[in-house]
């Protein structure tokens, strides 16, 4: 992948003088934007290919191998049949915006205007991209907590941000407040938080959120909060930072349908923010994808209005799966770090004597037949993640049990 760029284009005379090969090469090296240095093929794709080749059980990629609820699928089908197949209003089908606002009020107590403060996007991934591009200028400082979901770094670099990283460390992955204080300054534009947290499953508690909030208010900093896993909160209640005093006016709260309703391929997400921030998000969104899949939006409105019993059952099911996996991982010999939320858990693989996380994952696929994700990809400095790998439990119980069995049989401690 060419990454060096010259900004001079040959004059017509020079161009005419180049040979065919030289011309092609020049085209290749000249034309690709600098920002692409951050955009390599993802580790997920690589691991998935390897997994298929070896017939491994995939506990790497974060999507379920079971499907979403029938009532939501039927709503989408009905929408297609009812002819809801043309462009939706750019910032969201009105009914979905309303449903999101209703849900947000129920969950946080905050009352937001669905017309002015909610933007529907193609998944939370696009909400993140639109937020970065709409609200960040080249050179702005943005603080990230490592390990982080890989699109954050990529989209921040697309926006030209200066990234400052604060690392969360095992066993608790708690926020190092003093370190954060030393990094936040009047130059900080935004802090990006993800709670419940991918990959560690950590949930930011009230004290931590209050500390972040004080720093933000003091230094006039924005918060971008990725809350896609908020319905998969097991050990404690999820708290939206936007609900803390003084915080709504400076927070973008992002979420999606996919994880909560096991429909990750539908790409329905949203960003909730006060009007002055929503403006920027909407502008970027309208030029990134213009509009979001129409029939799925109608179905999403139905989904989000599901009764509390749906969400309770979701949590119960996932807790059962989590127990199967965690008990299994512990019994096999991993050091397991407690995960309070999401459907991920990170473990220390070093008892098995491999030199780093990537090597361990390759060994796990080839010799044991199970996929995990090496967490070094989630850090700015990969060295910091080399002892950890991430497993997911968004799989049916049979699959989880089979994976645990394989590990019990074939995973050998050094």
């Amino acid at each position: 992948m060419a990454s060096s760029i010259s900004t001079t284009v040959p004059t017509p005379q020079q161009a005419a003088g180049l040979t065919q090969d030289e011309s092609t090469q020049k085209t290749q090296t000249l034309q690709v934007a600098k920002r692409l240095e951050k955009f390599k093929t993802t580790i997920f794709t690589q691991m998935s290919s390897l997994a298929i080749k070896h017939g491994a059980i995939n506990l790497g990629q974060g999507f379920p191998n079971f499907d979403g609820p029938d009532f939501v699928k039927e709503a989408a089908i009905q929408a297609i049949r009812d002819g809801k197949n043309q462009y939706a209003r750019g910032y969201g089908v009105p009914d979905l915006n309303s449903a999101v606002a209703e849900r947000f009020k129920k969950d946080t107590g905050l009352v937001v205007d669905p017309e002015k403060e909610i933007t529907v996007t193609s998944g939370c991934t696009e909400a993140i991209a639109a937020t970065m591009l709409g609200l960040i200028n080249p050179g702005d400082e943005v603080i990230l907590f490592a390990p982080f979901y890989d699109s954050y770094e990529a989209t921040l670099s697309m926006a030209g941000a200066e990234i400052k990283c604060v690392t969360l460390r095992p066993p608790d992955f708690s926020i190092p407040i003093d370190e954060l204080k030393s990094v936040v300054s009047k130059n900080t534009r935004a802090i990006l938080i993800n709670t419940p947290h991918n990959p560690t499953g950590k949930m930011f508690n009230r004290d931590e959120l209050n500390a972040i909030a004080s720093l933000c208010i003091e230094n006039d900093v924005l918060v971008f909060s990725d809350e896609v896993y908020e319905k998969l909160a097991f050990e404690m209640d999820h708290i939206s930072i936007a609900s803390l005093p003084g915080m709504y006016e400076r927070t973008v709260t992002m979420n999606s349908l996919g994880k909560t309703f096991s429909l990750t391929g539908w790409k329905i997400g949203w960003a909730i923010a006060p009007p002055h921030l929503t403006w920027g998000i909407r502008q970027a969104h309208s030029f990134l994808t213009f509009a979001t899949s129409t029939p799925m939006q109608f179905a999403a409105a139905t989904a989000i209005r599901a009764p509390d019993s749906y969400y309770e059952e979701l949590r119960r099911d996932y807790m059962a799966k989590k127990n199967i996996l965690i008990e299994g991982l512990k019994s096999v010999g991993f050091t397991v770090f407690s995960s309070s939320g999401t459907y991920f858990v990170v473990v220390d693989h070093t008892p098995f004597g491999k030199e780093n996380d990537v090597a361990f994952c390759e060994y796990l696929i080839k010799e044991v037949g199970v996929v995990a994700i090496p967490t070094s990809v989630f850090y700015l400095n990969p060295e910091e993640g080399k002892n950890l790998v991430r497993f997911t439990f968004c799989k049916d119980e049979e699959t989880l049990k089979s994976a645990v069995d394989r590990m019990k049989k074939k995973l050998l401690k050094k």
Partner: protein
């Protein structure tokens, strides 16, 4: 807190087309403004989507079959050999394919040539990526490409040219000669070309769509973007693609993954059915739209528009206001809503060049405020109703002021 917006975001304004839609809704007007059908999508494709949802194609996926079909169609229609494994990127609509392409190739300060008039989104994508849009006017009344104007627009900073053909808003289909001129310029100046070919299957009067990428030496420097939306009347499904040499496609793919990660899964599945549609489907699409074009052109001529240039493709008519009309395009559109209950789009939103002092005679300044875009991607009933209402204006003696 306005200072928290990025500088680019601050310069953006809401889509004029969307604003008009709101006015139309409030007046309950017939909407010939927005470019999407008011008739149902083809049943066989909707059924495919329903079937996909029921068969649990609902998680993140990449449906490689789409690439196979897109490659096959490029071979069939444009005689191009495209490798489905490496040269095609599936995105959330042509919108995202275009945005990802621009982010892949445009660096801060890079100039990108656009033909005026043009669809409003291209410029903003380019500016979001730090690029500088440079406009080359197409000459009315037939929107011909002027070689001198094109030559003058190149500088050492030019990185790419954007070509939309068949063209929104004019309905022009760039001719082979014009494509050769553009291709020649791309090679001389060693720049890339990004095409928007969403109306590729909607051409009239036996006119064929020719992809710029099919011209000699152009495939290696062209990114073709297109989608299901217009061909299959599913603008709300968000399935599109970019076709490019592998080294660019790879970059576009990696960016797409960070912007949205995946296009909606069930609709990717349905795309397989859509792209396998028999030739008869495409023939009847073309025929139906040609009839609609004729109807609308006829309707406009009856009320006083002089339709010197008829669209050869897309589903838009770009009609010049009659010479006798003293209104500007915006004023006309408002009057049309209020008096006839029909909405169209004022052409000024598609023009970007401000003419220099030297050529600012009244007439020259005038034309950019004198065009109205009508969409005819509407059912026969809608078009008939619009025709009745517009003709009513003439009958009442008010006519075109």
């Amino acid at each position: 807190m306005e200072e928290k917006l990025s500088s680019v975001a601050k310069t953006l304004t809401p889509s004029p087309i969307q604003q008009l839609s709101f006015l139309a809704q409030r007046c309950d007007a017939i909407n010939l403004a927005e470019g999407f059908p008011d008739f149902p999508a083809p049943l066989h494709i909707k059924n495919a989507a329903v079937s996909a949802i029921n068969s649990d194609f609902n998680q993140y996926r990449h449906v490689e079959g789409i690439c196979d079909h897109v490659a096959r169609k490029m071979k069939e229609m444009q005689k191009l050999d495209v490798d489905p494994l490496t040269d095609i990127v599936i995105c959330c609509g042509q919108s995202e394919a275009f945005a990802a392409t621009i982010f892949a190739i445009v660096e801060q300060g890079d100039e990108v040539i656009l033909f005026d008039p043009s669809y409003e989104t291209y410029e903003t994508c380019i500016r979001l990526a730090g690029g500088v849009p440079v406009y080359v006017d197409l000459d009315p009344p037939n929107w011909t490409l002027n070689l001198d104007k094109l030559k003058k627009s190149f500088t050492t900073k030019t990185k790419a040219v954007v070509l939309n053909s068949p063209h929104n808003p004019t309905g022009k289909v760039f001719s082979k000669d014009e494509l050769e001129i553009i291709a020649g310029a791309c090679q001389t100046w060693n720049i890339l070309a990004v095409t928007d070919e969403v109306y590729e299957h909607i051409t009239f009067d036996k006119e064929s769509h020719i992809s710029l990428a099919s011209l000699p030496e152009m495939q290696k420097r062209t990114i073709v973007t297109s989608s299901l939306s217009k061909t299959f009347s599913v603008t709300g499904w968000r399935i599109g693609w970019a076709i490019a040499p592998a080294w660019i496609a790879s970059a576009i793919r990696n960016i797409h993954i960070k912007i949205t990660d995946s296009a909606p899964a069930p609709f990717q599945e349905a795309a397989l059915t859509a792209l396998r549609s028999p030739h008869a489907y495409f023939d009847s699409l073309r025929r139906d739209y040609e009839l609609k074009r004729d109807f609308v052109v006829d309707m406009l001529e009856k009320v006083g528009f002089k339709m010197q240039f008829k669209p050869k493709g897309s589903f838009f008519v770009f009609a010049p206001l009659p010479g006798s009309c003293t209104l500007s395009d915006v004023e006309f559109v408002e009057e049309l809503i209020k008096q006839a209950g029909v909405v169209a789009v004022a052409g000024c939103g598609f023009f970007h060049t401000s003419l220099s002092a030297e050529d600012s005679s009244q007439a020259a300044l005038g034309y950019q405020r004198k065009y109205i875009r009508f969409a005819f991607c509407k059912s026969e009933d809608t078009l008939a109703a619009a025709s009745k209402k517009i003709s009513g204006l003439v009958d009442d003696g008010r006519g075109m002021k």
